[in-house]
Symmetry: C2
């Protein structure tokens, strides 16, 4: 099997595993310490997290853990927790007060399928649940690893990470001056990069990576995250509404902070490809050998993706 085909297979496997894990976590029965799971809220949380997306973040967590031959449910649970945070962020970003999107992955957004209050609460519920999943002994036998997974996700997703990045992005939209490449890259490293990097870090933590391995994986994750976002900016610029399942071209109309706007299309493409190479080089320096081929292919895929 070619590396590309193997990568696709692993991506599909990670997506299927994430779906199964999310399905079982979002079952109707209350866990110890919960009182009841209200049906409509649970439905909205399921709607927002099941059946969609490439599941790139879960793939990164699972595939990085695989470098260290981690067994058990840990990688899949960490992957599901990470995906819950990603999905909550989409639900809140789509709200009328934020990006005001009606469609997401070709389906009505959560506040359209349910209502705005339920969408806000479903997002809150998914975010909260992510920390439940990570801190539960089922994720890792060592409490230190679980606490570490929680702390890393909170930093990646919070004020100085994803939530902060979304705040910067919204502020930027209100300005009329063009955005500097530095500003755009910082905002994107927070808004998108931090969570992709966390996927890699979660796998490294579950695997007990040593300091050198961890540093290499952080370089990989950071480059991959940046690459992903430039590729996204380019795709949005070239925008094809049908392929993306969301209104394309809207970023340019709104003075959104994108690297295509800040650098120009050609420079953005070069940057995207250089970042993919940087990610691949980091894996080689980490000394993972052929075991990291799939993660390297993920970097190529990220740069080349068409949707």
């Amino acid at each position: 099997m070619s590396l590309t085909a193997l990568f696709r297979q692993r991506l599909d496997e990670a997506a299927a595993a994430t779906e199964t894990t999310l399905e079982s976590l979002l079952a109707p029965a209350a866990l110890p310490g919960e009182i009841v799971r209200p049906q409509r809220l649970l439905e909205a949380m399921r709607y927002a997290s099941l059946g969609g997306g490439k599941r790139l973040r879960p793939f990164l967590a699972i595939e990085t853990a695989r470098l260290f031959d981690v067994s058990g449910a840990g990688p899949q649970r960490a992957a599901a927790a990470l995906e819950m945070v990603h999905c909550y962020s989409l639900v809140h970003d789509d709200l009328p007060a934020m990006d005001d999107d009606d469609l997401r992955r070709g389906r009505p957004t959560a506040h359209k399928a349910f209502d705005e209050a339920t969408a806000i609460l479903a997002g809150d519920g998914l975010l909260t649940y992510a920390f439940d999943v990570l801190s539960d002994p089922a994720t890792h036998a060592e409490a230190a690893t679980r606490a570490d997974l929680v702390l890393g996700l909170a930093r990646a997703a919070g004020l100085g990470g994803m939530v902060g990045g979304q705040a910067l992005d919204l502020e930027a939209e209100g300005r009329t001056a063009p955005h500097t490449p530095d500003f755009v890259m910082t905002m994107q490293a927070m808004k998108t990069g931090a969570l992709l990097l966390y996927g890699v870090e979660a796998g490294a933590r579950l695997g007990g990576a040593d300091a050198a391995q961890r540093a290499a994986l952080v370089r990989y994750g950071r480059a991959l995250g940046a690459c992903f976002q430039v590729a996204d900016d380019i795709l949005d610029h070239e925008g094809d509404e049908a392929a993306l399942g969301k209104r394309a071209g809207k970023d340019a109309g709104r003075n959104k902070a994108t690297l295509v706007a800040a650098l120009g299309l050609e420079a953005a493409r070069k940057r995207r490809d250089a970042l993919a190479q940087e990610a691949i080089a980091a894996l080689a320096e980490g000394g993972f050998g052929a075991k990291a081929d799939i993660l390297a292919e993920a970097a190529r895929f990220t740069a080349a993706r068409k949707s």
Copy 2:
């Protein structure tokens, strides 16, 4: 000093300690793993969490930890984390799509003082930060305790706890039939009770309570939480706009699920007082002796409060 005066002093001390801890946690400098803390978002998070409220939840965490002579920053950090969750829930509950409140504690609500998008993100940021604080080694030397604190908060605040309770409350408002006492009590145990109970449980966890002590404290926390919410329903019913700092009487107008509506005013008052006695009895059974006098006084205060 009378017990009432001593209780007031301890409540004030807990509020001051919470303020100091939140101030230092919400400083402008980014922590390791954060990229930058965007100024406006940070301001909104500070606005939503500093300078307000009785800080009853922090008091419960700090005062319960005191039963076990817990030293160090743990109780104050857990108290601040808990208060962040409480404050985030107020910010989201006040949003136009939810309760649509313009005033909170006599000040404009966060979405009025800032804007709706910033309020949503500030709530998300506070919720996320709570788990950061609990999982940080500064909160407790033992990782098992930190992971336990995280898991407990996630269960109390999530789908089967506070967020679920808010969802039930909103659903209830849309119905025309009167609400049964059972429904109202379940909804309130989730929406308000779970977080108050968690304050007590966090203190017990930090203090290394044994099983019997823990069970007694859970009974105390559960009764106190229920007492608090009935008292709130009664206060709202008797409503005095100036004293509460929010529009009073609105719950009745909207077919909100309250115990006064479900039971009648007199029965609600009896229930409130019985719950305070139940809380006090639980402390006696826990064998904490005079050390628990302040927590017992907190139950009396909760039943007797006028705002």
